[in-house]
């Protein structure tokens, strides 16, 4: 049964948290809601959880009208950013809570509850911590308890609100992998909210990028990364170089670089181009038709080196990423002159008022790929 969200609107006094949002979530899917703070992603999650309600729009879980179902009957498991554990209950009691509050007709027996809690403790790798109170656990352990508590009620839908937001970097990465494995094992429909694009791209089957209460793009992580639908997605996901290309004669050009062709057939005079740092080809020999650039600085970040380039023809700085081993192979050092050219770019035309038009996106690739 897919989860169908249609035309959701939610206004708070001063801004629109959700603006005509529609989304379909497939059963068993792992979906990330990604966006900056104030983009409406948490509001959307809270509406799914039944903790907030839209001003208009519908939410259907198959045939079931979710908006007419109180939160406690939606069969959801919710994990909060700040854990929201019951601090007066032990880990075991926390996990058993959702089972113990059931009416006696649907409540499992004491032995069943104990068995289920033990299995969950094992699953979240906290077998020896059942008798502890939340204040005696680390952040990562608390979040695992929160997850076990949510799973204990055997939900149809797991909702996570910035689940790793309050954890330090190392714990975060470990928990992420672990959550992914858990999802593969349980095949439970999971929606999680994050502002961390790396987290969203690494974990999710599908990512919905949100901005100003709208969904800018929904798609698989590699589509979001390689074929961003809007300028916002280009700039929000990963690092990107931005520059302007202008039409002269038959085609577009930017400081001597010309993407071949014009899909808009002369309708637009200007376009905004986005190029990922790893899509900038760097060469030492002045062979290719490309920009001249001065290498101002090299930032070595493990396996990748970030090159800080200045391109006089564009009168702006560009960033290029190369593999660390290329540094010595190409003999790169700060201060030297280089040649750079895009391998691929995403271009959005600009109308007369200067506004970009997302619907007219042009995914450009160099005709002959020449490896530097």
């Amino acid at each position: 049964m897919p989860l169908q969200l249609s035309h959701l609107n939610r206004r708070f006094t001063e801004f629109a948290a959700l603006n005509d949002v529609s989304l379909t979530i497939a059963p068993g899917e792992f979906l990330a809601l990604l966006g900056p703070s104030g983009s409406g992603k948490t509001t959307l999650l809270r509406i799914l959880a039944g903790l907030d309600y839209p001003d208009s729009g519908t939410v259907f879980n198959g045939e079931e009208d979710f908006l007419a179902t109180p939160a406690r009957q939606r069969r959801i498991g919710m994990v909060f950013q700040h854990y929201a554990l019951f601090r007066h209950l032990t880990v075991t009691e926390n996990i058993a809570f959702g089972l113990r509050v059931r009416s006696w007709r649907s409540r499992p027996s004491r032995a069943d509850i104990r068995g289920r809690v033990e299995r969950l403790l094992k699953r979240v790798q906290l077998e020896d911590f059942g008798g502890r109170y939340p204040s005696q656990l680390s952040g990562g352990q608390r979040q695992r308890v929160a997850l076990a508590r949510a799973l204990a009620v055997e939900p149809d839908l797991l909702l996570l609100d910035e689940p790793f937001g309050a954890l330090d970097a190392q714990v975060r990465v470990t928990l992420r992998r672990w959550l992914r494995e858990l999802h593969e094992e349980l095949q439970l429909t999971t929606v999680f909210v994050t502002h961390d694009q790396e987290e969203a791209l690494e974990l999710a089957d599908r990512v919905a990028v949100m901005n100003h209460g709208r969904i800018e793009q929904v798609g698989a992580p590699e589509i979001i990364y390689q074929q961003p639908a809007t300028p916002f997605v280009c700039e929000f996901i990963g690092k990107v170089n931005r520059f302007t290309v202008t039409r002269n004669g038959e085609g577009f050009a930017a400081g001597g670089w010309t993407p071949d062709g014009d899909p808009w057939e002369g309708r637009f005079a200007e376009a905004q181009a986005y190029v990922r740092p790893e899509q900038l080809r760097v060469a030492v020999a002045p062979s290719q038709p490309a920009w001249e650039a001065r290498l101002r600085h090299i930032y070595l970040a493990g396996s990748v080196a970030h090159l800080d380039l200045h391109v006089p023809a564009l009168d702006q700085a560009l960033e290029a990423d190369v593999a660390s081993e290329d540094l010595s192979r190409l003999g790169l050092h700060a201060g030297m002159e280089l040649r750079v050219a895009p391998r691929s770019a995403v271009l959005f035309p600009r109308d007369a008022s200067g506004a970009t038009i997302s619907e007219e996106r042009w995914l450009w690739h160099a005709a002959h790929r020449v490896h530097a």
């Binding site: 406690r72 919710m78 929201a84 019951f86 209950l89 509050v101 508590r149 009620v153």
Partner: protein, 274 residues
């Protein structure tokens, strides 16, 4: 000794102990010394007297009931003040402190005027057969009045710091509203409620000024233990007054220790292993 950010542990501890000794322990020691003058026989005679026992029962029983009542009503008032925004909230909030500020005699006279058979409230209660002024019920009303702010004021900051997402978590796990209240909110507030209870209890047991005006002070019926002490002083029975005072002190102390143990137990989850 480890280096500390603020120096002067020795001098501040010394000062604190000296101050505590001077302000609290010295008068208590004087009380004990004075009370010892009565002797064992005198003490058994004093405690065996039905009038003493009735007064102690009223003082302690009334104070326990009043503190319990204050915990329930104080929780309600604190909850409303913290959770809701309504016109006049600040004024309402300021009114809570009034029993702190009002001279107790004024409060007592005001209460007895209100609840007297011909008073504003008394004239309506009288036909219903409810007598408040000059009865143990009046003692209870006065004790509720003076103890009330303690519960609200201890509770407010804790209520304000309760995270809303804990309640949301309970709801999403399937808990009904009453289950969320009794299984989540109340246990988390229990240590604070007990603090408020202890303060209101201590205040009500020691209360003199407001109670004597409304109590009517009939021996064996509506006479509180502090009044008995004052009467003994007026009869120059200093040893008897001191002995009764010491007995009250011990009983209060025992009650407070019990509340404190209960509080420890109810807040065991807040203790850290390290």
């Amino acid at each position: 000794m480890r280096h500390r950010v603020l120096p002067g542990f020795g001098i501040s501890l010394g000062y604190a102990l000296a101050y505590l000794g001077l302000i609290v322990l010295l008068p208590l020691a004087a009380l004990g010394w004075k009370a010892s003058g009565i002797g064992i026989a005198g003490l058994t005679h004093l405690l065996g007297a039905p009038r003493t026992l009735a007064a102690l029962r009223l003082s302690i029983g009334g104070a326990l009931l009043a503190a319990l009542f204050n915990v329930v009503i104080g929780l309600l008032v604190g909850w409303v003040l913290v959770r809701y925004r309504f016109p006049g909230r600040r004024l309402f909030d300021a009114l809570v402190d009034l029993p702190f500020a009002l001279p107790t005699a004024v409060a007592g006279i005001a209460l007895s005027t209100l609840y007297a058979p011909n008073g504003w409230l008394g004239q309506w209660l009288e036909p219903l057969g409810i007598k408040v002024a000059y009865t143990p019920l009046g003692v209870f009303v006065a004790m509720v009045f003076v103890g009330f702010p303690f519960v609200v004021r201890t509770l407010q900051p804790v209520l304000a710091s309760l995270e809303r997402d804990v309640e949301e978590a309970a709801e999403s796990l399937g808990a009904q509203r009453w289950q969320t209240f009794f299984r989540v909110i109340l246990p988390m507030l229990a240590p604070t409620l007990l603090t408020g209870f202890a303060l209101a209890l201590a205040r009500a047991m020691g209360e003199y000024g407001s109670v004597i005006f409304i109590a009517g002070n009939l021996p064996m019926h509506s006479e509180i233990a502090p009044l008995l002490i004052v009467q003994k002083l007026e009869q120059f029975d200093y040893a008897g007054a001191a002995a009764l005072g010491a007995v009250m002190l011990l009983l209060s102390f025992a009650l407070l220790v019990m509340v404190s143990l209960l509080q420890r137990w109810s807040g065991r989850w807040a203790e850290r292993t390290r």
